[in-house]
Symmetry: C2
Subunit: 243 residues, 2 copies
């Protein structure tokens, strides 16, 4: 599945085209189409801005008109933050991604259309699109960098199929989550030493203190290695205090 | 609710700091903290790159160490794509936003920590953080522009409270969705004219053709104005063919 083509209409700065290419490839998109880039093509600033996304730069194709650039595309989203005096469906980047995924999977090409920096798309280009894609943005400061607008749409495309868990515990090499036997042995080691120095001398508070301390270490999601480290810490602290 | 502070550790290019400021304000974030910016501060390239986000640039604060920059913060997320040989919780930007919203609402300051361009955060800075934030990215081209990394996290922060509907029909001024009376009158007008020119001359196919044509215009979600436009189109087409 190719993913949407990114179509830039009259982009001005080569560096911005490069940053767009980089953002695209970060999100697995490779097809860049340029309509009348102001400073010509190829572009050294574009290659520099791409920071290694050379395959996108090398594969970019040039067009004289927006109509030619989208000729083979079945669903085009025109990206703009400006309200237009026209009747059009408006979607978020997330919604657009959810719509484009099944289309691309079924073999219908999709495309995201972006206008020139600061100015955006003209109404004739917007009229060629199936829907307007508007990136949600602070209403009091709504002018997005061109590459950021491309990135928002590309990021949602990528995320729509990304399997990264919302959260995970990354474990350092040669370690694994501690099991309860190891944890309880740590707790008992610590509590033995605390009893020895009289830390829990008020007998009726002892169960609460033990629970509080156990909860601290429980919450830390310790590895077996970290349990060994902490037992070493306790051992050397008690050696010192006993010497 | 202030939203997370954005903390850049040893940023190199002023222009990147500016693009970070712009991306922040696009997402309603205003608090920028800089730890040892390479080219000093204030910075003309930063102001230029901010493209109007002057309030963020003017309000930026400077620190000598990461520890000082995060001293008042209760929950710090270290943004990095590099796996580290340490045990740490890893979260997506969306998950981080979902965690930070209730913290900020309860008065706990939050912060997003970013390392220098191309290099990222060092392990000592990561060790100060509560969790690692990793922006999901194409594994074969994973180096994110600094401002894009900030934007991904800021965008998710903004979206977590944004009420924009996933899709909506934007209606041009002085128009409203057509009601069914107007639509049916349009259908009947068209069908009358098609009958008159013999377009639907095979009687048994007539109901299917009518349904197909009605579905086309139904799907277009027409406004009352557009219904008038289409009726004018039909009237003038039939005038021409009859002259």
């Amino acid at each position: 599945m190719a993913g949407p083509a990114i179509i830039l209409v009259e982009p001005q700065l080569g560096e911005n085209i490069g940053m767009v290419a980089r953002a695209m490839l970060n999100c697995g998109l490779t097809e860049l189409r340029l309509v009348r880039p102001r400073d010509g093509w190829p572009s050294d600033p574009a290659r520099a801005g791409a920071a290694g996304a050379d395959s996108v730069i090398d594969g970019a194709s040039l067009y004289d008109t927006t109509a030619e650039a989208i000729a083979d595309i079945g669903a085009v989203y025109a990206t703009t933050v400006r309200p237009r005096d026209m009747t059009k469906r408006i979607v978020t980047p997330r919604r657009a991604a959810a719509e484009m995924r099944p289309l691309e999977a079924a073999g219908t090409r999709t495309g995201l259309l972006f206008g020139k920096e600061a100015v955006g798309l003209d109404n004739d280009d917007v009229a060629l699109a199936d829907a307007v894609l508007t990136v949600p943005v602070n209403a009091e400061f709504s002018s997005l960098n061109l590459a950021h607008a491309v990135y928002a749409a590309s990021y949602e495309w990528f995320l729509a199929a990304d399997k990264t868990p919302a959260q995970q515990l990354r474990i350092s090499k040669e370690a694994r989550p501690a099991n309860k036997r190891e944890l309880i042995a740590l707790f008992e080691h610590l509590e033995r030493e605390l009893d020895a120095v009289g830390f829990m001398h008020v007998e009726e508070k002892r169960p609460i203190m033990i629970r509080n301390i156990r909860n601290i270490f429980q919450r830390a999601s310790l590895t077996n290695q970290e349990v060994r480290t902490l037992r070493g810490v306790i051992t050397s602290l008690t050696k010192k205090s006993g010497s």
